[in-house]
Symmetry: C2
Subunit: 405 residues, 2 copies
Amino acid sequence: MGGAVVRKKYLELLSLSAARKRFLEACADLGVLPGREEEVDVREALGRVASREVRARVPSPPVPCAAMDGFAVRSADTFEAKPSAPALLGMGKFLPVDTGNPIPSPFDAVVPVEETGEAPGGIEVRRAVAPGHHVRATGEDFPEGATVVPVGAIFGPEAVAACLATGNPRVWVKRKPVILFVPTGSELVPPDTSLQEGKVYETNSIIFRAYVERWGGKVEVHTIVPDGPGLLERALRDALEADHDLICICAGSSKGRGDHTPELVSRMGKLLFHGVAMAPGKPTLFGIVGKKPVLGLPGYPVALWVVLMQLLRPLFEEYYGMSLERGERTVGTLTRRVHSTLGTREFVRVRLEGRDGDLAVIPFPGGSSRLSTLLFADGILEVPEEVEFIPKGQRIEVERIPRLW
Amino acid sequence: MGGAVVRKKYLELLSLSAARKRFLEACADLGVLPGREEEVDVREALGRVASREVRARVPSPPVPCAAMDGFAVRSADTFEAKPSAPALLGMGKFLPVDTGNPIPSPFDAVVPVEETGEAPGGIEVRRAVAPGHHVRATGEDFPEGATVVPVGAIFGPEAVAACLATGNPRVWVKRKPVILFVPTGSELVPPDTSLQEGKVYETNSIIFRAYVERWGGKVEVHTIVPDGPGLLERALRDALEADHDLICICAGSSKGRGDHTPELVSRMGKLLFHGVAMAPGKPTLFGIVGKKPVLGLPGYPVALWVVLMQLLRPLFEEYYGMSLERGERTVGTLTRRVHSTLGTREFVRVRLEGRDGDLAVIPFPGGSSRLSTLLFADGILEVPEEVEFIPKGQRIEVERIPRLW
């Protein structure tokens, strides 16, 4: 039983801020940041980030067109027209137009129908109009060469429509980083199989994929890698052949017998950290294998979520050069004393409840193994490393968990 | 030319609030609201709204399991153990376990590896443990029968994972309302064709689809219906055969020669309103044809956007029973006088710019034909019906345009 007794240890516990820095710097060194670009059909660009400025190749509108329903006329033909002395326009001197219709030369103005009347052989115009009256000039919306979408902007549907109107059917966007998620553990089975005694559904990939996709990434989920000699190594070697920006191995970074990841990363590459001074989320590791960043994620869903928020979200913020959605910060009164390990940054899930005009901050009992504490939480109370406890009744700031779906 | 001269008129201009009320009431009368439900694979439920409560069919965890890496033991075997007098456990009296492993009977506690040592033929335990120590009890996360997702909640990834862990592979969600979008106009061509002189790309469907999908709807886009006798009628008759919750006909609700929609809706069903006292967005109509609600949308993209925000968004809010994302309200100083038509609710696109510690509210010149005024706007200044102008320098509240992508 000796093998069971000799347990592995964390290399060291790195502070969260140092771990984040090391992770992001390595991603920059390895070329994951600042990321690549790709050209796509603009209709596929909704929600993507422009990597190059889009300028109007053609003006919009491309030709003068009617801004109202009425009659296209030559403004000169309406010279000095007034209700008491309307201008009479015979056939060929006017053209009925609806909003959006091109105004062909020599017409240069539109008279609204209200300012006209029927006349023998044509129409009468009761008001003189200036050139360009009720006409949308060429390029009025977007002149040729004008910036339609600046670098770094997200394509909304209005931008997609504007690109099409200005001769930009294809645009350059930041490529979505591709992250491989490798679930490990002999106890795991895919959700579409029946559940045998002692097995659990692999659902971390669902949580991981949902957040990463929401932040603009692409996730490939590996088949479940059972515990067993050489199995994770083979999966990792195969993964290194493919074109992923980041490889995430879920669970196996703790100190248990099945936890081969630290040893594997050390042997195949370089382990940069193993163990982060945060809770939940301590069993997080990071290393470089074959010039690929490899992140070892904790298996408890709440711990996985903390790593998503604390390491993956900043990666996407760096990648796209923008802040991602965070929850509103709010202040309330703590309903019970909260203890925290000195030197550890703790993320306490709390419920928020309006009580007598104040906001009660109610910490969830129970650890990171409880998905329910995350599912039913309204906010997160972050306890800094130097704080050992927060007394009951303390006024504290919490961050609401943003609704991303 | 008589036909060109006799122009159609709006039935009446209805106030926006009255139009919205009439629209929503008709949708309720016709059974579009409160909407139907459907059963889906829970992995497809991300972002959907629960129409029935989800309860734990099986507890989670389903059996007791290790909450730490260590040794499963019978707590009774550690009775009075202490560092100076450890309990010695021989083979069969302990089981190495990793976090998450089931704890088989008769074991009832887990001793962390740090509190154990090697001993001849087994291990020594240096501390007495109580029953349940470091064991996740059956149902600790979700007891059998507990509410996992309440009615009306949105499924986030944590909820999806929780449903799978509690024996709920399929769940009931609100069905997405299906909206048919019918683009009309001989000047329109699909974006994937080449653009001839006098033609424009049909892009309103892109804007319409993006917002409606974001709010939880499903959009089917009809082929473009050119102007011409009977063409729109045929399209509408075909559409009535299908199972849409709402039919939207884009453009053709104005007063131009090609604008057949009001007459068509009156003839085939009942026109409930034609013309709303708002700008942009006046040429909006609504009626009932063959027990289906039919909405006539303006063709200018900014006007279309206003109708999306003022009529479609409230429909989805009613449908799902929740508020949809709105922009933050903020206060700034108007940089130039804004005029508005008395009796009309006006939606002025504004840019917001920090200036000397204040927020400048800069109205865009130019009308609703300019997509750029929407694309580059930061916020909307809503001018109520009874206001004819707002003076330069006035402190005013504006609503930021929320970033949905």
